[in-house]
Subunit: 286 residues, 4 copies
């Protein structure tokens, strides 16, 4: 029987012995640790861990997971064990600017982002993405018109649920989610904001950046919360600019930053490398 790789992540209050007990359990259950990261937040006394382990046979993994429940209960852990082979289901939302969408579909196609895209939602029609091959991914045109926000969001939420998606990606989706929808998605929706937060929140951040005269621009991938552009930051990156860059130049240069920042954030999230820590994240990068 082929061995399987599992990703265990958990958060709990810190105390002596956690790692010893967890790794001991994995070892006793026939697991072999491939990679392990931990972090103690001394301010809050919370402990974060991510361990990738391999088990030779399915019986072993079942026993491992069953036995882990007691440890998790003992420490009051918020935990998750996931098989690497289980492809995550992701729902992507986009608007007019499709550079992030095109980039994510490419990475999926070549196997770099191993995910099952359950659907592509846009407030723009299919022909906006005429050159993009969606394969057999269903496309949903959910236009927004004055007064229909709640109805349109209901459709988004319905699709998220009916497809069994675990992550929604706002890939330069330009509609602001209502507090209600943001709350529903809590921790399961990643947005790419085209600025280096906390600077330039809201609309037209490149124009704001140009106005302010910054010498570096950036992009930020974060979990969506009710507060616009305030959610826990997952990943950021930057690029130097100069006085000669117009807002259009910033938009152009920004596309590259947005693409790679969003892709990294999604990759980290799907690989269980991101753990929310209040208003922040713990990211066990690879």
């Amino acid at each position: 029987m082929p061995s399987q790789t599992f990703i265990l992540t958990f958060v709990c209050d810190d105390m002596p012995g956690i790692v010893a007990n967890v790794t001991n359990h994995i070892f006793k259950s026939g697991g072999n640790i491939l990679e392990s990261h931990q972090y103690n937040d001394i301010e809050t006394n919370r402990f974060f861990m991510r361990t990738a382990y391999r088990v030779a046979d399915p019986a072993g993994s079942t026993a491992l997971e069953a036995g882990f429940e007691a440890i998790a209960a003992h420490y009051g852990m918020d935990y998750r064990i996931r098989a690497r082979s289980q492809r995550p289901k992701v729902l992507i939302l986009a608007s007019k600017a499709d550079h992030c969408l095109a980039d994510l579909l490419y990475r999926r196609r070549i196997g770099e982002l191993d995910m099952d895209v359950t659907g592509i939602i846009s407030n723009h029609p299919r022909d906006t993405y005429a050159s993009l091959d969606f394969g057999d991914i269903p496309f949903h045109h959910l236009p927004t018109i004055p007064g229909n926000k709640a109805a349109q969001e209901s459709q988004i939420w319905a699709l998220f649920q009916s497809t069994g998606s675990e992550l929604a990606v706002l890939a330069r989706y330009m509609q602001i989610l209502s507090d209600d929808l943001a709350a529903k998605f809590s921790g399961r929706c990643i947005n790419i904001h085209h600025s280096f937060l906390p600077g330039f929140k809201g609309a037209k951040p490149y124009h704001q950046a140009h106005q302010r005269g910054v010498k570096v621009i950036g992009a930020t991938a974060h979990y969506v919360t009710a507060d616009l552009d305030e959610g826990p930051i997952i990943e950021q990156d930057v690029e130097r600019i100069s006085h000669s860059d117009t807002p259009d130049d910033l938009i152009r240069k920004g596309r590259d930053i947005e693409r790679r920042v969003l892709a990294r954030a999604i990759r980290f999230h799907l690989d269980g490398r991101v753990l929310v820590n209040g208003p922040r994240t713990v990211v066990f990068r690879d």
Copy 2:
């Protein structure tokens, strides 16, 4: 007679023929252009230029500068011609954290920053910098106590004037300049703020950054204006951080960014490479 290098910088409304007229004048006056940069701000229709030229003999340079007045008047230029050999006079202010001060003194000593430091002012006493060799640079201990701000600032201004300084550098000088003093310095005072503006203005920016959970920190050198941390940005740089960085780690990592950002900004300014453009700057980097 040895040739001399001059730096000409000017700003004026843009119109056809400026470069032709200016370069023609330099050529006719026996000047040879070594380096030249220009920028047209299409939003404001303002034109910015910096030209470094060499003139074989002093008579030629005098004629060149005399003749330039008419061109400058014709175009309504705000201009300056400075001989490279003329060492700028710089007044440095510091507080407890002396990494920027130490760094600037080192660069000056090895000839990297060619400036005449007219004085070092601090609200802390001399022994705060026991290990630093100030050479023959006068040190002025100007402590701040409740109620003496205006008096203390008068001493700063008096020193700036009496030493004939052209630039004041707030090298992690932690006292906030009053609107009055900021206005007096206008365009002649560079501050290093230990954050990547416009984020985390004001006090304890590293603690703010830690709280916000950004994944990148930075530092910003800017001209001081009445609005705290709002003046035209000259230079910025960043460094990646992670969830495991405590505020003290950010302070430590930030020191390196602050040192190099401030040094670059000062170098650009002293070499006539920075031209203020409203709330922003044009920086002809080298």
Copy 3:
């Protein structure tokens, strides 16, 4: 009549008065300079300039160009004047890894890279790029088999000429051009090498980088010459890596660097911003 924008680039021996004469001529001919860069290589005494100017009417631009011939002859200039509206013709070559190809086609589609792609050549068949929409760009499958290198290269050259292409892009095209073909392309062929040259020339650079244990990887876009990976470098960029990155991780992380480096290099080249300076380039970046 609508105004047109032109890009003038030239190289010549440096001497006083060049800029004055050139800008004066542009001005007298009714041109208005939009952007201008120059560089004096003091080692070789060569002068490089790029000026973008606008002329109100076609008659003016014709006169400007006609009159420029005398100036060019006087200074022994190697020069070029090109209308910005004239879309450059570019031939792209690719192999199995299509990330650069896909990226260039995307940028062209959204108008970021304004070029006329005259053809896509690959040593792999069309279905290798099943998901990529080539639109009406002709695809040419030119397989390489032992013994047919010269014949296959003749076809490449024939296509380059018959399409009137001015630039060939080796977008992770993995066949090494013969000295003969490299010489024919001289200065008109850009390659992306997946390492930070001069390190890790030749095959499997990511494996070489992994073996060497570098902490930073990069990609290099350069003009092709007879010496493999030795041609004048146009653009480079890097990314931090760690001991935990396997060669496959480097390949993955490297794709993003390769894409942006190649795209920037092509953009600079097509916009007349790159001038070859012996074994190096002068790049007037935007």
Copy 4:
């Protein structure tokens, strides 16, 4: 009794159960893990770990270390346990360019690099560093003259031994160590090479970089081995440059990169974060 922090590092062949046994032992001995990193090199099947733990009382730490011997023997570990309070002894060597030396002394002075500098050796006399306050660190002028290399190196080695130093830092020390001395230092000598290795080994790397026309320069900190500039790389960093940078500009810009790269490498090494892995290093960064 106050608690103490210890750093345990070890390398051994990988096999299931190592982490469980090690962390279990720490736990049972009353230790509390503060930070832990591990890495499995799947190519060589070698396992690397660094764990920082705190023990409430000295008796506990003695027992922990005594008990660890059996575990280490069982796994064939190459290991080390060091108390954080034990300040490492470091010998610094410098030559004419003193920017790295000045920078390290500054970081030590403000407590950023917690080390006991046992001496400063230079092939140049003390007055080369007139402005630098060495405090009570002994300075040794060991000039090199034709024919005295072996004798001069004997003095270096004698000082290294007599001072009980554990690390020698070549802070832009420009004499090439003989194979003999390099071998003696093995793993205990860090050099800063002023290029982004593997490019531009040997002399005048900035001139080499300028000649090659790279668009990015860097610096590399590595362990010294018999092969010049070939030892395991610890840390690297880069900076963008352009065609207008002369070799002197590269030297100037390079100083900043060298300073921070060397300082980081030393910091990592002294904090037990660097483990040699054949020709490479594993670096558990903070």
